[in-house]
Symmetry: C2
Subunit: 458 residues, 2 copies
């Protein structure tokens, strides 16, 4: 990169907030994707305001410098991995929760604020931002970038359903505002929704207005072992149609449960006998502002699960429940520690989960590999750890699993995004007419193709 | 229009399904906007399949023929009013509810199906499509076009929150599918969301996958007169934060209540004395699968309203409730019958409603006109009937009211859209950088500008 350009970047954010060479730590070279090799950027800039972001983008556009946005780098698709010749904009200094507005039940947040920080600030007001991906160190901007989901999505929806407005800087330098503190709007194309999930390729987000919910006073967690995976899957729609509105509805297969139990020293009170006869577990979270109603919902849910073949139903106490949920959230680390070669998150219609899982296992066996997993069962979002050392075989296996998901009416990713890790599969499997349209939309935002080139498509 | 082009259109849909000249009825010339003069199109085509829609668009694109899509023509912004030199595509024959899928809680619907039809089909399965704008003759395609809202949006969200996938024909003729029977996806830009609310300017929708909810067994409606509008507005966030999750939360000002009561012969049991001391009413709908829980929620809601200054709280029986809700839905016709010159639906943050309403009244008085209204109070969506005969004054009044809404953090329209009726105001009040971006997005979809030119922007 030209020295004059670097100097200009330094002028914009201040010398101390611009990193080059040895001052760039390894962290900036990667996210948590298992397959994207770390790659350090030429420059890291840490702006403090939207105006600085705008100046950075204008300069980058003028000199054809590729720009990657980074929140906390906890993404799983390599979408925050910078270009060697590029500028990485880290939002770590724009990390304030600017406002928790209890009357409108919204918060106004800078993109670098973490979900953990937002959780703390909203809890103080008796409210909650209900997007809880497994990693609460994730930044709000990053969750907008990937349209993050997580366990509570089964009740509250994903990021897309909980972001009402944005301030964003276009690659052409203009700062725009979309949406607002309102839950609906029909006034032109919805740019909020278009930017959400665009993985830093359309615009950089400098402020986010999120929707908050009242925090129910009471909650409970049920754990049910099932001898048969198909029965788990059959129980899911039944629980949903019962009207109890669980806020967590996760399945965990026996291998994953063994791994996370071991890693996190879980004591669930499941007897060896039951455990050995179990193919998968269902974890159901319920919450209510009223204790009696919660008890009623627990009873009803336990009944449904027993009817549908659960060998037992355990009611976990607060501490036990928290440990199980945390362990489930760490399933990714367990898979990584076990030597998983990739982790994917295909989404399919709920009804298609059993068929899709069976097919994925067949394909893995044929490729001399294996798949194990857990997932947001209520959303049909299956997280699979892929074990298959041979890169070429693994590529084909992934292709076939993604194709099976699409054939079942689903998509390659439910919440992690395409990033750099899955773009070849996206290019190979997506309808060419749609891909061409996506590229034209990209072009409408970013005529010089400076924002995250190489992410989503080449 | 060239005879050869007309002949080609007839070939595509069949002679009997192509209307020209005297065979085109008045209905096709307009929607329900109060300000857009009727205008007959050159040709009306009634396709039966996506392939026919595609062929129509390809032909239209080849000859530069402007194309307007029409559902039921109940829109309020003139967005379905065709061009004199154009083709109107009426979706009346593509009106099947193709599937009600109880396991995935979705329905697959053709665009011409009415909400009334969908209501009937889903009710039979114990499920509901929860988008209920005031006019159930509206088509599903039309509600996608405008991102329709309605009363239940306070609990269930608007069309945008309840459509999971689309089949759509691009103006370039390609038929694409977006989303699916899944509640989440992070696989490229969200074209479903981009097409929703685009008022027929980006793509024509030929199939819609909508989300369904279990239909709660019990419901109740409360009516509370308030001596002061500000107190009504103060009660709204309190009811929402109480956690009772009302499915209806409407305010009706005293003049509107008088008009709809008179037109629909409502007997609400409100004494003359209370009525005369009332500035506005709050209507709260509650529902639950459990009768006792519903009763508990009613009590709690009544308490909140009494605390906040309601002069009384009436519990309406089933018949009375239905009549009131129906009458509220007909507020538009009451306004029209009373000689309203326009009806608008500004949306503002809930907290800004009192200030915005006061400002709108001031502006109307200054313009020697008047405003009365009702609205989706839970959403900050204010429906105002505008009385102001002088066209130039009215134009300025609307401009000022829209500007006041935007200044309060809101937008010109919460659910009716911009269409042809409000595009001048949109052009005058929207950020030029955003307008330019919207135009580039339009261009990405519709390079020849054949889809609904003159809607949203000129
Ligand atoms: C253990 C573990 C568990 C996880 N569980 C879940 C889960 O349950 N559900 C889920 O959805 N995800 C999960 N994730 C993935 C990850 O937490 C999410 O993808 C999250 O959204 C990433 O946030 P981040 O701040 O780390 O983003 P980053 O990785 O820094 O960036 C993600 C994307 O957003 C873009 N971006 C960042 N900031 C901005 C900005 N200001 N403007 C525009 N674009 C921006 C980046 O360019 C990149 O494309 C998990 C990850 C881990 C490690
Ligand atoms: C009495 C009354 C009460 C109302 N109450 C409400 C309310 O509470 N909430 C609310 O939101 N609205 C309300 N409306 C407005 C109206 O019902 C909605 O705007 C509805 O969405 C229009 O549906 P339609 O089928 O009549 O659409 P149309 O008027 O036919 O078309 C509306 C738009 O959608 C486009 N369109 C139609 N079909 C397609 C397709 N297949 N593909 C792409 N674009 C298409 C059209 O081109 C146009 O831009 C009310 C209207 C009336 C008359």
């Amino acid at each position: 990169m030209d020295d004059a350009v670097v100097a200009r970047f330094a002028e914009i954010v201040g010398e101390s907030e611009l990193l080059t060479g040895g001052r760039i730590s390894e962290d900036y070279a990667r996210d948590e994707s298992l397959t994207c090799e770390p790659r350090k950027p030429a420059v890291v800039a840490k702006p403090a305001t939207a105006a600085e972001v705008s100046a950075l983008l204008t300069t980058a556009a003028g000199h054809g410098v590729p720009v990657t946005a980074r929140g906390s780098g906890s993404g799983l698709s390599g979408a925050a991995r910078p270009r060697e010749d590029g500028l990485l904009i880290s939002f770590e200094r724009m990390n304030a929760v600017l406002e928790v507005d209890a009357v409108n039940q919204v918060a106004v947040v800078q993109p670098g604020a973490t979900l953990a920080e937002l959780e703390q600030k909203t809890a103080a007001a008796g409210l909650a931002y209900t997007v809880y991906p497994g990693e609460l160190s994730a930044s709000v901007g990053g969750t907008v970038g990937t349209n993050a989901g997580g366990m509570r999505a089964v009740k509250y929806g994903v990021t897309r359903n909980n972001v009402l407005g944005l301030e964003a800087v276009l690659p052409t330098g203009e700062v725009i505002r979309t949406g607002g503190k309102t839950s609906k709007v029909s006034t032109g194309y919805d740019l909020t929704q278009l930017i959400i999930g665009s993985e830093g390729t359309l615009a950089l987000v400098t402020e986010v207005i999120v929707k908050l919910y009242p925090r129910p006073a009471h909650s409970a967690t049920l754990l049910a072992p099932f001898p048969d995976l198909d029965n788990v899957m059959a129980a899911v729609p039944r629980i949903i149609s019962s009207g109890v509105a669980p806020d967590i509805l996760e399945y965990i297969d026996n291998l994953t449960m063994a791994a996370i139990s071991h890693n996190e020293k879980l004591e669930l009170g499941v007897s060896d006998e039951v455990r050995d006869a179990t193919q998968a577990y269902l974890v159901v979270g319920l919450e209510n502002r009223d204790r009696d109603r919660l008890d009623g919902d627990m009873l009803r849910t336990a009944e449904v699960m027993s009817e549908l073949g659960a060998s037992d139903v355990y009611v976990l106490d607060g501490g036990g429940a928290r440990k199980l949920i945390e362990a489930r959230e760490k399933a990714f680390w367990a898979a990584k520690a076990a030597g998983a070669d990739d982790v994917i998150d295909v989404v399919v219609p709920r009804s298609e989960m059993p068929g899709f899982l069976a097919r994925a296992r067949e394909l893995a066996t044929a490729a001399e590999g294996g798949v194990v997993g857990c997932g947001h069962a209520g959303d049909g979002n299956v997280h699979l750890a892929i074990f298959c050392k041979d890169a070429a075989k693994r590529h084909k296996l992934l292709h076939d699993i993604f194709a099976a998901g699409i054939a079942a009416g689903g998509a390659i990713s439910g919440e992690h995004g395409i990033g750099q890790a899955k773009k070849d599969h996206f290019a190979a499997l997506e309808d060419p007419a749609k891909l061409a349209l996506l590229r034209r939309v990209k072009q409408a935002f970013d005529p010089r193709n400076i924002l995250n080139p190489g992410v989503l498509f080449d």
